[in-house]
Every structure is written in C-alpha cells, then in structure tokens.
C-alpha cells in the first residue's frame, strides 16, 4: 500500500512548485551598449529603417520621459532600476525570408514551449506572429488574412507597409505623455504586433502572438496596436513564457486598442514571465500599459488576463467608453506565489451615454506573494445611464501572503449605477479534507478549488487558452460534463 506523509501541507506543496519553462536559447544577438540617450533612440530608428516622423515621435517621447519620475504609488517594492544599465536594442543577426531560414535553435525553443509555428496552426485555428527578443522572425497566415483585408503583422512591418495607419492611430489611446513606462516605451520600442480589421469583417481565427524575453539584460519594449473598423470583430491572444534568468529584466509594453462603431475587440492574455526563484531573486518586472478606446457607438472591448508570472506586475488594462452604448469588460486572474508582487486591475472611464462595464477580478496569493487589486470606475458628467458592476475576490493560500483591494469610484452623474462587491477567502482545511475524504488527492483538491474560484474568468478565455491557463495554475479544468 502507498504510504505518504499524512500531515503534508497540500497548500505549501502546491505553492512550492518550480517554474517549468526555464531555459536559455543561444542565439547570437546584435545589441547596443547599455544606456539611453538620443543617440540610442536614433540608432534604433535607423536600424529599423523608420520614417522621419516616427523618429521625431520617439524623440519627443524620450524628451518627455527625461522630465518624468518613476511612479511609486503602486503597492510593490523593488530596488531602484538603473535605466542607464539597460540595453535598449537587440536583434537576431540574420535577415530572414521564410520560416526555413529561421534559426533551428529558435524553432527548437518554441518547440519546447509547445508553440505551434507551422501547419498545426491551421488545425488549431491560430495565426502566430512570433516575437523573439525585439524583432519578429516569423509571421504566418498573413496571406490568408490579407484576402479578407485583415492586416496582421509585426509592428516594424506595419511601419514599412502601412505607415498611414500607424501614423493615424499610434499614441491615440496611450499618448507618449501618459505615464513613465509608456513614455519610455514610446521612445525605445523595438517591435510588437499590428492588427487592422476593416469595416464589417469578422476575423475568422484567433490571432495570437507569443512574446519571449531572451537576450540577457535586454529590456523588452513591445508595442501593440489593434484597430477594428466599424462592425469588425477580432479576438487576439497574447501569451508568454520566459527562460530562466538571474538578473531582473524590465518589460514595459504598451498595447493600444481602438474599436469603432459596433466593433468588438477581445484581448486575452496568459502571462507567465519568469517570476524569480523562491527567495525572489531574478524574475521579470512587468510594467505594462494597456488601454482600449471604444471610440464608436456600441463598440465593445473585452480584456481577459491570467497573470501567473513576473516578479512584479504593474498592469491595468483599461477601457475608455467614449461611444454611446459602448461596453468595456475586464476579467482577471492574478496569482502571486513565493515573493511575487502584483498590483493589477483596471480603469473603466464612462464618457458616452448608456455605457456599460463589468469588472471581475480574482486574486490568488500563496507563499509570500502579495496581490493587490487596484481599480477605478469613473463616470463623467455626460455619461447618463452608465452602469458598472465590479466584483473583486481574493483567495489566500497559507498565512504568509497578502491580498489588498483599492477600488476607486468617481461618479459625476446621478443617472448612473455602480455596484461593487468584494470578498476574501482562505482556502479551507475543511474544503481540502472534504475532497480527500472522497478520494481526491490534496494536490488535485487545491487545483480544483482554485480553478473553481477562477471559473468566471476562465470561461471568458478562448478554449485553447483556457486549457493553458489551467495548466499554468497547475491543475486540470472542469470537464464539459453535464
């Protein structure tokens, strides 16, 4: 008969699992010396062969950034970042014409991560724009999408091929003056993804990008821009795992979404950057600015995020509900373990009439993890008939972790409805015992309980992503039984 330590603490066992995706790919990278000044920005722009207006835009951002101070209001703690010690550019050296030319090591890296880069994608219904370090090396399904008028490519390519679209929308949702990290990103962003869905077109597949940090000490500054013209629909998936590294790495991405009349953008993220080791050494600093603008009537933007990685997460995917009748949604699961810290949430800014927003946030803290929900619901004067529903739930695993909630509500019109609910629960010894008494192992019990807690968020994810999300939480999903 199997014998086991009857007193083993399943919560601690679950909490002490190791990061499974740590490895480093050896690819020769072309990098610039550490440090940031105008010459670095000019170099980046030149390397990428950018038009003059974009260089000017970058320089404006840099000059503004130099006047700014790093924000300190977030409930996260880390040693000061030396921005002059960071390298701001790194690119694989070879120029690539097709997938066959891709460095086999790189392909092997994606292989290890289980990322489908070839025909498998057709079966999976996923088109992948893979970002490796700072330059996109492979884009698939472009031709197929192009037939429908959908543009899906790396940001650099968009600058070359569709400069008028980039110029029109870049910085229109997150201006370079927005915040410290957005300004930095605007000055030095190297690549990212661009997606444009024309009027009345429904994108037939989930668009997906895998981000990956590789070269040591290289800050990653991704720029993503998605524009949905009137009546368009697109679902975009962003997922990432990162190789194990000892130094802290800065990641300051900017994502801008624009939805015009009756357009819908669904943006889903599974974030699994290297979180650091058990003592909190290493790990990614993830300072991201994500914002969507519902510019047109009845536009809809939906953010779903599953945040399990990074040493520090600072991230507030937000919606500006400008068009009358527009809808914003935010569904979030954030897990902090060991020494991880997350300060995440959303802003819903109601500008137009009869705008609606929904916020569902699930924070899970384990080990010494600190999890903060920070959210703002702002209803401007003209937003008659605006409605918001917020629900923020926290779950604690163990007694050394923490959960914090900071909801800000600011309503300037009497004709609005704002509801906020919050709860904190501890995963109960009685719940685990109940499961064990039915024959379920403690580990499966914890997984099951955590998954149940996150269910409202997971069901917002596209199926294949939901599976990955549950794997990331180290558990199996509820079957589609019954």
């Amino acid at each position: 008969m199997e014998r086991r330590d009857v007193n083993a603490d399943p919560v601690q066992e679950f909490a002490s699992r190791d990061y499974q995706y740590g490895f480093v790919t050896e690819i020769e990278s072309e990098t610039v010396a550490p440090g940031l000044d105008e010459s670095v920005v000019r170099l980046i722009s030149e390397k990428k062969g950018e038009p003059a207006w974009l260089l000017e835009w970058r320089l404006k951002a840099l000059r503004h950034w130099l006047t700014m101070k790093e924000p300190t209001w977030a409930n996260v703690h880390y040693p000061p970042i030396d921005y002059q010690a960071i390298r701001y550019y790194s690119a694989p050296k070879q120029k690539l014409g097709s997938l066959d030319e891709v460095d086999p090591e790189l392909l092997a890296t994606y292989e290890k991560l289980g990322i489908p880069l070839r025909e498998r994608e057709i079966l999976a219904g996923v088109a992948v724009d893979a970002v490796f370090d700072s330059v996109s090396v492979a884009t698939t399904f472009k031709a197929k999408l192009a037939e429908m008028g959908i543009l899906f490519c790396s940001f650099s390519e968009a600058v070359r091929e569709h400069p008028e679209l980039v110029r029109k929308w870049l910085g229109s949702v997150v201006p370079h003056t927005d915040n410290f990290f957005a300004a930095l990103n605007s000055a030095v962003f190297t690549d990212g993804s661009f997606c444009y869905v024309p009027k009345g077109v429904r994108c037939p597949m989930e668009l997906s990008t895998y981000f990956r940090i590789n070269a040591a000490q290289t800050g990653q500054f991704e720029r993503t821009l998605i524009v949905a013209e009137p009546g368009a629909y697109v679902s975009y998936l962003e997922g990432c795992t990162a190789p194990m590294r000892d130094e802290n790495q800065l990641h300051a991405a900017v994502v801008e979404l624009v939805a015009l009349d009756d357009a819908t953008i669904k943006y889903s993220t599974v974030q699994n950057w290297y979180p650091g080791d058990k003592e909190g050494r290493g790990g990614i600093y993830n300072f991201v600015t994500k914002r969507g603008l519902c510019k047109g009537r009845n536009a809809k933007i939906s953010w779903t995020q599953v945040e399990t990685g990074s040493a520090i997460t600072w991230k507030y995917p937000s919606c500006i509900l400008q068009g009358d009748g527009s809808v914003g949604e935010f569904y979030s699961v954030a897990l902090t373990n060991h020494r991880q810290q997350a300060d995440t949430g959303t802003k819903m800014i109601h500008v137009g009439k009869n705008t609606r927003s929904t916020i569902v946030s699930k924070g899970i803290s384990a080990g010494h993890g600190q999890n903060t929900y920070r959210g703002a619901v702002k209803v401007l004067k003209g937003a008659k008939g605006a409605r918001n529903y917020s629900q923020c739930d926290s779950m604690l695993l163990g007694d050394k972790c923490g959960a914090h909630t900071f909801p800000y509500i600011d309503v300037a019109t009497p004709e609005a409805t704002v509801e906020h609910e919050a709860s904190t629960s501890k995963i109960g010894e009685d719940q685990i015992f109940y499961c064990k008494q039915r024959g379920i192992s403690a580990e499966d019990a914890v997984g099951m309980i955590v998954n149940g807690f996150c269910k409202e968020v997971f069901r917002e994810l596209p199926m294949e992503f939901a599976v990955e999300a549950q794997k990331l939480l180290g558990v199996s999903l509820e079957g589609s039984v019954g």
Binding site: E2, F433, C435, D444, G452, F453, E478, V481
Partner: protein, 253 residues
Amino acid sequence: MLEIKNLHASVNGVEILKGIDLTVKAGEVHAIMGPNGSGKSTLAQVLAGRETYEVTAGSILYDGKDLTEMAPEERAREGIFLAFQYPVEIPGVSNLYFLKAALNAVRKHRDLPELDAMDFMKLARERMRLVEMDEALLTRPVNEGFSGGEKKRNEIFQMAVLDPRLAVLDETDSGLDIDALRIVAEGVNKLRSPERSVVVVTHYQRLLNYIIPDVVHVLVDGRIVRSGDKLLALELEEKGYGWLEAQAAGKTA
C-alpha cells in the same frame, strides 16, 4: 470489517476519546448515540483521518489494515465514506465534476478503468433516484446554496455513487424535516448489503425508526458506556442520557 481497540484521541491537546472499543462486522449497522460533547463526531472524524485529531493510543483496524497509518484519501479509496454533519461548499466546482473526479480516483485505486462523462452521467442519474434528488443539483457548485436537506441528500447520493464498504453517517438526520429524514433513511436502507457496514452517529432516536440498527452504543465522555440492541435506543428516548451520564461519572469518580 472494523476493529477499534482502546482508542484515545485528542484535539489541541484535549483528550476527547478516552478508550473506545468497537467491532463492526460486514453487513452490520451500528448506531453511536450520546449526549452533546460526548465524542460522537470526533469518532467519525478520526475514522476518516482528519488531521486535526491526534490518535494518542489504541488501534483501528479496517480489513485487518492499520487505519491510522493511512492518509484520508487512501482511506476513502479503500472504501471508507464519511457523510459529513456539515457538508462543505466548494464554489465554482460543479457537483458532477467533483463526484466524477472522486469516483475516478477511487476506481483508479481499485484498478478499474476511469468512467467517461457519458458513463458517469448514466450512473449518477441512476443513483440520484435513491435519494430523490433534483437533477439540477448536479450542475450546481458543490453544496453551494443547497438547503440543509439538499446537502444531506447530496451526501447520501455521493455515498451511493462511491459505493463504500464502510459508511459513517455523522448526524445525517440533523436539520432534516420528517419527509426529508424518511427519504434519506430509505436511501441508506437501499444501500444496506451484506458487504457493507454502516456506522450511524446520531443524537436522536428518531432516525433509528427508519434505519434499524443491529447494535446501539452509547457514548458518554469519550467512552462507550453501554451497548445493546435497538431497544436501547428506545430506552434512551424515554429516559434521556442523564442516568447513563450519572452512572459513568460515578464509575470514574
């Protein structure tokens, strides 16, 4: 089936069970009665292996195996089932999913193939009839928003699905109205078999009008002070526990 000898158990350093001897043979139904605080529920929890209770002396043999060496989930897979006095809620996890995971864990342990969703559903539907449970409860989260009666029915339904060899019912009658009590008791009766033993922990005699026990034990202050047939339960109904408590106190004094 079950052989308990001189069992002592404590919680947070306070001794609750002070030397229990109990033998339950296959196919028998034993009732454990006693006043509040006598240790009835502690006995049930100790049998299931709850970690907060420490066995300080004595032995529990189940099918000849030392139960105290087994983790709670192993006991469950070996066929021990506890119907909880206060069934726990698990938000977001459907009853059906939970029970399928449980059954498959048990089946795996017994070297049986796991049941797929279709086969499981068939089994679940069939066993639900035993306790006249509403099928809608299957897709609801485990015990969440269930009435007291629904929770207790759900426990017996789980028992019917998991097919245990030793079932311990901890105050399954508490919080039930008379109709629900009858349905639950009939469910248990349908599950009686020569291979299955049942230990019914109860404060009141009324449950034993429906589930007729082979043996009745009275637990007072952590010890079994009297055992008898079903008539003992009726005697208790009439006289209360006071006379046995006084006797027990006299003995220890």
